[in-house]
């Protein structure tokens, strides 16, 4: 018996849409659970007070500061390097063996799992360079980790800038650098910004690479050589060691909301770019 292909089409379409909505459902459920369980313990005072008794009571102020420091530092290091690389790859060289090696390097860095970054950061920055568990060691490790994201998004953003803009600028007598800085980068800025925001999201949520390089001291870090805890690490320790489930959920809420906000902002910026050029 032959089944009507239209019927199959309808069935398949239903199944596929169910799969898609099921997957979105997973996201919604995760956010919902974290929100419902975390909201009652999560307020301004939670974010602004110090933890007591290993985090069983009190807030997560040092963890928020630790996260901000780590993110700010690694973005500060990675952005110039990443944009520089992207500019080099797109504006300053033709496709060659060298560029394909660099692209291979970037791709490989992107594929390395975070625990390997943790191992590397631990042996190189913490031990060999004698930084100890510190903000700086964490930030350097994180810099390398987010670099591929920044390079790739910046490269795409720069490539998307129409060629005529450059030609016009050159014909007006601008040098390559002047063209890059005054014409190309401003038009590519939203795309680059997207990459930076995605990197921030990645750094905020990372645990494995951070815990072995930045340590897990609960004190407020006051110098670059101080150890500290990010929210993700604090959440991991709270949850894993069963210190306090209420505080764990509350920390997760701050963590997830900030990451989602950053990512949504990133998509919004990216959409603005794509609608501008397409």
């Amino acid at each position: 018996m032959r089944i009507n292909p239209r019927l199959i089409d309808k069935l398949v379409s239903r199944t596929l849409s169910m799969q898609a909505y099921f997957t979105v459902g997973i996201l919604v459920i995760i956010v919902f659970i974290i929100f419902v369980k975390g909201i009652s313990n999560c307020g301004l005072s939670f974010m602004l007070t110090y933890p007591e008794d290993m985090g069983r009571h009190g807030g997560i102020f040092p963890a928020i500061i630790g996260t901000l420091f780590l993110v700010a530092l690694s973005i500060l290091f990675a952005t110039p390097l990443g944009i520089g690389t992207a500019i080099y790859l797109t504006e300053y060289t033709k496709e060659s063996r060298f560029t394909s090696i660099i692209r291979f390097g970037v791709e490989s860095l992107a594929g390395i799992p975070s625990i390997i970054y943790g191992l590397f950061g631990f042996i190189f920055f913490v031990i060999k360079l004698g930084m100890g568990w510190s903000l700086l060691a964490g930030a350097f490790t994180m810099t390398i980790m987010i670099l591929p994201t920044i390079i790739r998004t910046s490269e795409e953003a720069i490539k998307a800038v129409p060629k005529n803009l450059r030609i016009v600028s050159h014909s007006l007598g601008a040098t390559k650098w002047e063209t890059t800085v005054k014409v190309v980068l401003p038009s590519a800025a939203p795309g680059i910004l997207t990459g930076i925001m995605l990197s921030i999201g990645r750094a905020v949520g990372e645990t494995a690479a951070v815990i072995f390089t930045m340590g897990s001291s609960l004190r407020l870090p006051t110098s670059l050589m101080d150890s500290g805890r990010t929210m993700a690490v604090h959440f991991y320790i709270l949850a894993r060691e069963g210190i306090s489930m209420e505080k764990a959920y509350a920390t997760a809420l701050v963590l997830v909301v900030s990451i989602l906000a950053i990512n949504i902002l990133a998509y919004y910026t990216m959409n603005k770019v794509t609608s501008k050029y397409s």
């Binding site: 292909p5 975070s114 072995f212 991991y236």
Partner: protein, 288 residues
């Protein structure tokens, strides 16, 4: 500014930019160098066979066998793929072929946001919901191959969805139009024309998903139970290469620490092979 000055400036700028571009390679080199320098000596000392095929991990007693962890890493990876690939592919196909513009505008970012949820959150929810569920309704302690596969299966969804979606949408419109013009239904055109054309990209998405699953650490530590035996059952606990490193790194010294770096060497090799495979598969499509 005199022209010669301008030329000089351009040259310096180019050098700075080259240095920037070179930094990625430098970092990659440093990572490999330090992992290898720390990890390789043990291979000489104990023997490659005794590490890669050794069955017993007792580093404080001089045994560094990580074979069970290699097997476990692959088991959870295939488990994750078994759960994540059909679901992810379904999502990608729906997005690329069936969803309307409005739906796409909502679904695509929502699906990509899954990638933003930190892995510790996945692990935590796995411990709180999936592990007890398995313990109560299926059996065992709950910390198991099954629980780990489910958690990882969800975690690799964004990778599979976004890469297969790109592969599907890069199939030329004319293919679909041709099929539809010949009177085939949407599904016939998708299953007989579009999916075969996007085959390599879909395959690559699965390989990269595997890479993600092999490399995941914190979520796995939380739900896998970390026992050293090769699991014989979906409900047995297991330890992957990544969790072995993270469980013991801060505790280890001397040969023990080297053993963890050797674990890192093996992990890095597996990841590089997977990445290379994915790249190879993708490149083959481009040439075609």
């Amino acid at each position: 500014m005199s022209p010669s000055k301008a030329v000089l400036k351009e040259r310096i700028i180019k050098q700075i930019l080259t240095a920037c571009a070179f930094s990625s390679l430098l970092f990659l080199f440093l990572i490999f160098a330090f992992i290898l320098v720390e990890g390789l000596p043990l291979f000489y000392k104990v023997g490659v066979k005794n590490i890669v095929f050794g069955m017993k991990w007792a580093p404080t007693k001089g045994l560094f066998g990580i074979f069970p962890m290699i097997v476990s890493s692959f088991l959870v990876t295939f488990g994750a793929l078994f759960i994540g690939a059909p679901l992810g592919l379904g999502c990608a196909i729906y997005l690329a072929e069936y969803a309307g513009r409005q739906q796409k505008l909502f679904l695509k970012p929502a699906l990509e946001l899954l990638a933003g949820i930190p892995s510790v959150v996945y692990g935590f929810l796995g411990v709180i919901y999936i592990v007890p569920f398995i313990r109560q309704f299926i059996g065992g302690s709950g910390f198991s191959l099954l629980a780990t596969s489910i958690v990882l299966g969800i975690m690799i969804l964004p990778t599979i969805i976004s890469i297969s979606y790109d592969a599907l949408t890069s199939v030329p419109r004319s293919y679909r139009e041709g099929a539809l013009a010949m009177g085939s239904t949407q599904w016939q055109s998708t299953s007989r024309v579009v999916i075969p054309a996007a085959k390599s990209g879909i395959l690559a998405s699965c390989i990269l998903g595997m890479g993600r699953a092999v490399g995941e650490t914190m979520a796995v530590i939380m739900v896998a139970g970390n026992a050293l035996k090769i699991p014989t059952d979906m409900l047995d606990p297991l330890r992957t290469l990544t969790s072995n490193i993270a469980l013991e790194l801060s505790y280890a010294s001397g040969d023990h620490r080297m053993g963890l770096f050797s674990t890192g060497v093996v992990l890095l090799s597996i990841i590089m092979v997977l990445n290379y495979l994915a790249n190879f598969v993708i490149r083959r499509t481009v040439i075609k």
